[in-house]
Symmetry: C2
Subunit: 295 residues, 2 copies
């Protein structure tokens, strides 16, 4: 059965006349008459009373009309919805973010997105360093706000900012009295580290920093997240080298100090599947750049 026919049927039912309906449909009357009879043949029952003054729905016709109208509307709405999604006027964007960035970025990013892409459902997912790649690849998130960027042939990266590494320590630590900590002072102190480089690229940046300054810090503990790291630092387990923005989520009693002779930083990037042609991605990127620029 054809949507075409249903459309004709609705037109005839509304015009209560084949001729009038044909005129409104900008077609000749006979083919319309034929289509109506074909529909009746398909249903197996007359849908109209043929009077001398035009056509009048039978009860079967009324039953069909009620559904046919809705079906037509739904179909039209469907293609319109598809167009709207394709154009980025509606839809859903699922944003994966590293939790360290939450406090620094989300409070400004979310309102920015709502202003920039109203009508789009936002879905924020807290991603660990180890799952962000997989979640992008299986499309369960549309974009990821990463620190640092993901490198993968299927994944496109846009660097939107960077964060200096800082030293996190308890406020009662002797180093806390310094305005900035020389790298040399880290020698031999215990380090609260994030997962090893193969699971979290941030660690390799930290390792590179230490290696370049020929500092060796024994690893006191490995933890999964920046927040866990700060908890252990507060407990006196060791020091941590973390991106500056982690400060915003730090518990009371933790202080951050710049590293005096190290300007190393870690990239903040937006990452997405290369083949994802969602029109929302450029818009998201723009918002994210704007927000991160003001960090």
């Amino acid at each position: 059965m054809d949507l075409h026919r249903l459309r004709y049927f609705v037109a005839v039912a509304e015009a209560r006349s084949v001729g009038k309906a044909a005129e409104r449909l900008r077609m000749a009357q006979p083919p319309l008459s034929v289509q109506i009879r074909k529909l009746e043949a398909e249903v197996g029952a007359p849908l109209f009373h043929r009077g001398t003054r035009g056509m009048d729905l039978t009860e079967a016709g009324q039953a069909l009309l009620a559904r046919a109208g809705e079906a037509l509307a739904l179909a039209a709405d469907g293609i319109e919805a598809a167009r709207a999604v394709a154009a980025g006027r509606r839809g859903r964007i699922s944003v994966g973010y590293m939790f360290v960035l939450a406090n620094a970025v989300l409070p400004r990013l979310i309102p920015e997105l709502r202003r920039s892409i109203p009508g789009v459902d936002l879905d924020f997912v807290d991603l660990s360093a180890s799952t962000r790649e997989a979640r992008l690849l299986d499309r369960s998130v549309t974009v990821a706000l990463c620190m640092p960027a993901i490198h993968h042939p299927e994944i496109q990266v846009a660097r939107i900012g960077a964060q200096r590494f800082m030293l996190a320590m308890p406020n009662r630590s002797p180093l806390a009295r310094l305005g900035a900590v020389p790298m040399a002072r880290l020698q031999g102190r215990p380090l609260v580290a994030l997962p090893p480089p193969e699971r979290d690229p941030a660690s390799s940046a930290v390792a590179a920093l230490l290696r370049r300054h020929q500092i060796v810090m024994p690893i006191a503990s490995r933890v999964e997240t920046v927040h866990s790291a700060m908890s252990l630092v507060l407990a006196g387990e060791g020091l941590a080298i973390l991106p500056a923005c982690a400060k915003l989520g730090a518990p009371r009693g933790i202080v951050f100090r710049p590293l005096l002779d190290a300007a190393d930083s870690i990239d903040i990037a937006v990452c997405w599947r290369r083949d994802s042609q969602s029109p929302l991605i450029p818009k998201f990127l723009k918002c994210a750049e704007k927000v991160v620029a003001r960090l």
Copy 2:
């Protein structure tokens, strides 16, 4: 836009593959591929990700799928509903009835109809003698349960029973002491009459009865309904000659007596538009015959 295409689209989306969908649709793969691309051209955006392992909906595709599925279901449901109505499995039947018959017929008729045509909405309308014809002709009622039948070229009649005329009087009337009242005893007594024959054919049957027995009864009052007639009879305004079934709706203090030498009766009939091909009418007729037979 074509419902055909939407059906193909849904099939491909569900099978996540053009080939599989083509198989399930019992058609070749290439034309299906073409149809999908035509739909995408119509929408103006890709609906599928083409991977090496098959097809995967884009977000625009998902937006369309949600509506398309419903639209298809509605359309299918619509033609099924039309068939059901045409076959009398569903629908609505609007039954006009003369109020005199209500007490005698409806309590049995309604359950009978519910058993015979479940799924059909019943709609009972109390019709006066003067409107029943118009309500049938403009299709605002499907069938009418009449006493007596309607005569009109557009209206089909099925006689399903008859009611004897009886004399209605107050129980303190001297005639009430008789088991049956001879016609001669009515001579000169005041009559509470229904509307004149041109508005209510029942009156003409009563008039014929009196004329044949050469009885003259002055008309004390004309009333619209049998129930009004009984009220006036109770008030001592006069006697009424009414169908036997009116007894069931009679107020306390009214008695009915047969007319001794008059076997006159008034037909009970089911009437409907000749051009109404509702399959519910034969079923209704059968129920009505069954119920009236037991009066």
